[in-house]
């Protein structure tokens, strides 16, 4: 069959006509519809339906749900401790941040406050995760703009922090580190020295990134004044995280509602006014710098603190003697058996945290049983996804990767 058998006369908008191998629908005069994703090198696990007038996008529709895993429903059938590794699958590279509010909510129901050392250890892994997550986003952003060096460098440097997380928790990505009552284990010997070395290294590398990527004339030309989210629009759409702060809104959960040890640490929230793709990239770079600052303070604090108390006394008292001996000697603790049958008192709890991509919110409801009655999650990427629809139209097609990459949108996190 030849291809050109489509009759064009009298074709109404919306009418479907057949071509060999495809149905063709007229969507409008001089419009061209392309489906970017889900099988597309520039889409990730999602689809962006773009309508083009020439080279200019007139309508952009993010189509989510390709990696929806019914996590909230699955959580209702699992014991409280098993929900943590489940929820980590939203953003495995940001595992501690993404599950921390859940742990906090369960702690609220249990009426526990983690000990001081555990709070610092949580902050430690959260900031390591935040750096790794930002580096991942910047790497993907680099390759979206065709900058292969910016793809490889952050991915290579991220390995430093993944390695640190592995030494701390035993797992590269899905750490399941924060658990109700504390954390799973203490820092190993010599960890803080390596951490300080990593901090020095990363500061040097951020300068390299600036030279090759952020101040690169080609990249600046691609990013400046592209995908501008005004302050009002950002608030109206309810976007969160670095994207919000790049639009001049000073909002960070670590600032407005400090959790864990954040109120005892000295750090700044970088805010940029421009709201364009370049500002969003700069916010991430500055945030990495602040995270390094936090990590330095945490390392000092951990060195000064006595090596005890990764778990709340209520649970720690029930630990077998062998556990306590191993912890005293090596700083390792096995997960205590009591978590297998953990019962949480009846009630409702709500907690939030600042994950790498923005504010993550958990609502946990317990009916007094061994499994949660309801776990509700609102993830940052889900709240940011709407941006495509409002800021991409009016830009050229080649700006779509620049906008996508600068938002650091992560489909598995949005779809849950």
């Amino acid at each position: 069959m030849a291809a050109g058998e489509l009759k064009l006369s009298g074709w109404e908008v919306g009418e479907v006509r057949r071509l060999p191998g495809m149905d063709v629908k007229k969507i409008g005069k001089d419009l061209y519809e392309i489906f970017i994703g889900p099988q597309h090198p520039g889409s990730g696990h999602m689809r962006i339906i773009v309508r083009l007038d020439g080279d200019v996008m007139v309508e952009v529709d993010p189509d989510l749900g390709y990696v929806h895993r019914t996590m909230e429903k699955l959580a209702e059938g699992r014991s409280y401790i098993k929900v943590i590794p489940l929820m980590e699958r939203m953003a495995i590279l940001d595992a501690c941040n993404i599950t921390l509010p859940y742990v906090e909510a369960v702690e609220k129901l249990l009426g526990l406050e983690p000990p001081e050392r555990a709070r610092y250890l949580r902050v430690l892994l959260c900031e390591i995760n935040r750096i790794a997550s930002h580096l991942y986003g910047m790497g993907i952003f680099g390759v979206f703009l065709g900058h292969s060096t910016m793809y490889m460098w952050p991915f290579g440097d991220r390995e430093v922090f993944v390695e640190l997380a592995e030494r701390l928790t035993g797992a590269r990505l899905t750490h399941t580190y924060a658990i109700p009552g504390g954390v799973r284990r203490d820092v190993p010997e010599g960890f803080t020295d390596d951490l300080r070395k990593a901090i020095r290294y990363m500061r040097k590398r951020l300068e390299d990134y600036r030279k090759i990527f952020l101040d690169n004339p080609v990249i600046r030309a691609r990013l400046e004044d592209v995908g501008v989210i005004s302050r009002n629009l950002a608030i109206e759409l309810g976007i969160v995280g670095p994207n919000l702060r790049a639009s001049g809104v000073e909002y960070d959960v670590r600032l407005v509602e400090p959790y864990e040890a954040y109120d005892e640490l000295d750090f700044e929230i970088p805010v940029f006014e421009e709201g364009d793709a370049l500002a969003r990239t700069w916010v991430r770079v500055e945030e990495i710098k602040q995270s390094l600052r936090i990590l330095e303070q945490v390392a000092d604090k951990l060195d000064k603190m006595p090596r005890e108390g990764v778990m709340h006394d209520k649970f720690w008292a029930k630990a077998p003697k062998l556990y306590k001996d191993v912890y005293a000697k090596e700083g390792r603790v096995k997960l205590m058996p009591l978590f297998a049958t953990l019962r949480v008192p009846k009630g409702k709890a709500f907690a939030r945290a600042e994950a790498g991509r923005g504010e993550i919110v958990y609502y946990v409801e317990s009916d007094g049983g061994m499994t949660p009655y309801r776990v509700r999650v609102v993830s940052p990427s889900f709240r940011n996804a709407i941006v495509f629809k409002y800021i991409a139209p009016g830009h050229r097609l080649m700006d779509l990767p620049a906008i996508y990459g600068s938002i650091d949108y992560f489909p598995p996190e949005a779809d849950r």
Binding site: G21, P41, L52, D55, V218, R222, P401
Partner: protein, 348 residues
């Protein structure tokens, strides 16, 4: 028997055949393109804290990886979607490769031809002819995109046609500005007017810069890898291609870059200088040695172009066109004016 060998040798070394098929044509082009691809991957890997190709032949630094890739492309299934325009779909990549190679037929690589049975003379207008032939190939990229009957291919083809209109004039003007000072369209004269260090690239930097960037524009080199920009249009005009045909199309861009680099090596970098073959020289000193010098110079130009991949991202289409029309075209005109001044004053 010996008669047959003589006949074969004569036929093989008959310049129109030898130039187009062996060197500097297809065979040399393949070898150099494979080297450049390897260099590109190794150099980028070095910048990016990686090893690059290694496992296929550790002792050669992974040089055979590219051969392995070539073999893989050759044996991969060639899928033809049934919505494509079949004849054009198959013909486009092959003609693209052929058209990319065509300038080789007229580019002289030595001032003398050491064969009695060769063409009577090197053509007088070979620069013009080479430029004309070099502008043929983009049409087949557009044909490939159109014949694919795919939205991404079509957008890629449209981008390619924008790029063609942008770079062609610049490249032609920039190279013609080397013809003005010597009052001739003959590359032999242009090369002979230069010496080892008195290079046209140094005498007329605007023209060389314009030609260099125009080559990047025309062959999708970074920062202008726009028609095949993966993150919007998948593989641009080549989205529907697979297997050998895809390999051919990807190779064609490099072969075109190679052809343009050879042209630049001659016009801007004094071709076969420091060698100076005299009439009556033998095959080795009269033909092969100058050829090797030209190819080495062209390879260095290509290597510099390849290295840009590790430094730049890609421009947006409208920014690339802006650069071409508003900055490079005046630059090329300036280069041409400089060339005319040199010609008027008789500097060379």
């Amino acid at each position: 028997m010996s008669g047959a060998i003589t006949w074969l040798g004569e036929w093989l070394f008959w310049p129109p055949f030898f130039q187009l098929v062996i060197a500097p044509g297809l065979v040399a082009a393949l070898v150099i393109v494979i080297f450049i691809l390897w260099f590109e991957r190794k150099a980028a890997a070095r910048v990016q804290m990686r090893v690059g190709p290694y496992n296929v032949s550790p002792r050669l630094g992974g040089a055979l990886q590219l051969i392995a890739d070539l073999v893989r492309y050759s044996f991969q299934e060639f899928i033809m979607p049934f919505t494509v325009d079949r004849a054009a779909f198959v013909a486009a990549p092959l003609l693209l490769l052929l058209a990319s190679m065509l300038p080789m037929a007229v580019i002289p690589v030595s001032p003398v031809l050491p064969y009695s049975y060769a063409w009577p003379n090197i053509m007088k207008y070979n620069l013009l002819l080479a430029l004309a032939l070099a502008t043929l190939s983009p049409i087949f990229t557009v044909v490939a995109g159109w014949a694919s009957n795919n939205k991404f291919s079509l957008i890629g083809a449209a981008r390619e046609s924008f790029m063609v209109t942008a770079y062609e004039l610049i490249f032609v003007l920039a190279l013609l500005s080397t013809a003005a000072p010597v009052h001739s369209y003959d590359l032999v004269k242009i090369v002979e007017a230069q010496s080892t260090w008195k290079l046209m690239a140094l005498l007329n930097p605007p023209a060389f810069l314009a030609a260099f960037i125009a080559t990047l524009l025309s062959t999708s080199g970074f920062p202008f890898e726009i028609p095949e920009s993966e993150h919007e249009v998948v593989a641009g005009p080549f989205t529907e291609y697979s297997g050998l045909m895809y390999g051919v199309e990807m190779g064609a861009a490099y072969i075109k870059r190679y052809a343009m680099s050879v042209l630049m090596a001659l016009a801007f970098f004094s071709g076969w200088k420091p060698l100076d073959p005299q009439p009556g020289a033998g095959v080795w000193s009269g033909y092969v040695a100058p050829l090797v010098v030209v190819l080495v110079k062209a390879t260095i130009i290509m290597a510099v172009m390849s290295f840009l991949r590790a430094v730049y991202g890609r421009y947006r289409l409208d920014q690339a066109l802006h650069l071409a029309w508003k900055i490079l075209l005046p630059l090329a005109l300036l280069g041409y004016a400089i060339g005319l001044v040199y010609g008027y004053l008789g500097v060379l």
